[in-house]
Subunit: 267 residues, 2 copies
């Protein structure tokens, strides 16, 4: 049995950056100040657990928070949250991924210019919630601006755009806000699928980009499993399989990929 | 046999305006100055013939023109033509349709902002030739601006846009430059087709919007004929037909529609 790992494994730029920001803050402030992250700083429970051990507490609202430092997660935070933090005099560190920030700035411009804003993505995901809060109350318009969650897959995005084009518009501005890492990871996964009879997708069960990879794998018809940690990997999946592919999300540590490969090798 | 005429028959706004401009100029200048139109002022040979009798000469280049007045047709003219007219000290009257002008201004803005410009339309049509000359030499870019010939049909336009979305873009700006009259005339024709077993499309053989109407009629499966004048209407077309629809292009005079209906009634 051969094991092949997709190119582009390891943390993406925005995840690496957010972890570095959190670790620097923890080093600098630990013992002197309480440090919170607003939402999971990245969507990988094992990494969040490691940071918890170092002192980073995850919060989902600011109700009980009276002081200390709040780190905005890589996915960004709603406008109201940022305003609340400032109003309460809490120290703010912004770990929003620069590609998410780029999408946020597009939304600001579209709003200023009076466009109806359509965000293609998962409305329950923190990135989309933040974008929605910036877009504010939407009004219908014949001038339409369209952006995508940074971890969307391009085919889904284009299908949604096609629906919008059927509307009676005067202008449609479409921005490709799918980040480069997402596109590359999806392409690498697609290439790997051509040469595999089993695919293991490694990453947070709450990770949007990992879920997209798994969607692509399932749609290809190749047997595919999404796991977060090595104990989830089941020996039976490998019966009769000859070529196993491994792909992982933008917030999956290399160490986890290694652990899982070692476990598969032991079968 | 019943005859039904599509709503929205008669000249469109831009055609009416161009004819008025030409007639005013002819009234004012005739005998005192030579008056030319650069290209047919509208795409209806019978109307052009009427204006010829009143003194309007159609030219297709400026080579032999040394003085007088040149009227830019409703479809607009290439930048170089306008510059030539000015350089030669010839008087210029602009009868470009305001909706075509709107598309021209969008092209100017896109060019200024560094967009690759895609014009969806018939490259041999004077409107598109003028738009192309304003766009100038196109360079490939990930920022793409898309406009349509004002007389395009929306389905064709959207099909072309879909192809563009498959490209690797950072931004696509799509402008609906199909004029309102074109959309309304196409919708009225579609509605009429539902209730007809024969359709007569009246208008210039060189008229883009009339040709689009005819395309829509042919695609519907209803027997359809495109005529410019009443002698072209053939009695045999009406054998066994019960409900005849009449539709006409934006540059077709009401008088021609009436003449054709009278001829059909006589069968």
């Amino acid at each position: 049995m051969k094991i092949k790992v997709a190119r582009c494994a390891g943390f993406c730029f925005g995840v690496k950056r957010a972890i570095n920001i959190a670790e620097s803050a923890l080093k600098e402030l630990k013992g002197r100040d309480r440090i919170y992250s607003f939402g999971a700083i990245i969507h990988n429970p094992q990494v969040v657990e490691e940071l918890f051990k170092k002192g980073l507490r995850v919060i989902n609202n600011l109700e009980k928070i009276k002081g200390g430092t709040v780190i905005i997660s890589s996915h960004g935070a709603p406008l109201e949250t940022v305003e609340d933090i400032k109003r309460k005099g809490i120290k703010l560190i912004d770990a929003t991924c620069p590609f998410v920030k780029y999408a946020q700035n597009i939304v600001k411009d579209l709003k200023k210019d009076g466009y109806e804003i359509i965000i293609v993505g998962d409305s329950a995901h923190p990135e989309v919630k933040a974008l929605k809060s910036i877009a504010g109350k939407n009004k219908k318009s014949k001038k339409i601006g369209v952006i995508s969650q940074t971890t969307q897959n391009k085919e889904n995005y284009i299908n949604e755009i096609k629906k919008i084009l059927n509307r009676d518009f005067s202008e449609v501005k479409i921005f490709n806000t799918i980040c480069n890492d997402t596109s590359k990871r999806q392409s690498a996964t697609r290439r790997l699928l051509e040469d595999c009879d089993l695919m293991i997708v490694i990453g947070g069960k709450n990770s949007a980009n990992t879920k997209r990879l798994w969607q692509i794998c399932k749609e290809s018809g190749v047997d595919s499993f999404h796991v977060e940690t090595e104990p989830e990997v089941n020996k039976n999946w490998f019966n009769g399989k000859k070529r196993v592919g491994i792909t992982s999300g933008a917030s999956t540590p290399d160490s986890m990929v290694k652990k899982i490969i070692e476990r598969i090798r032991r079968f």
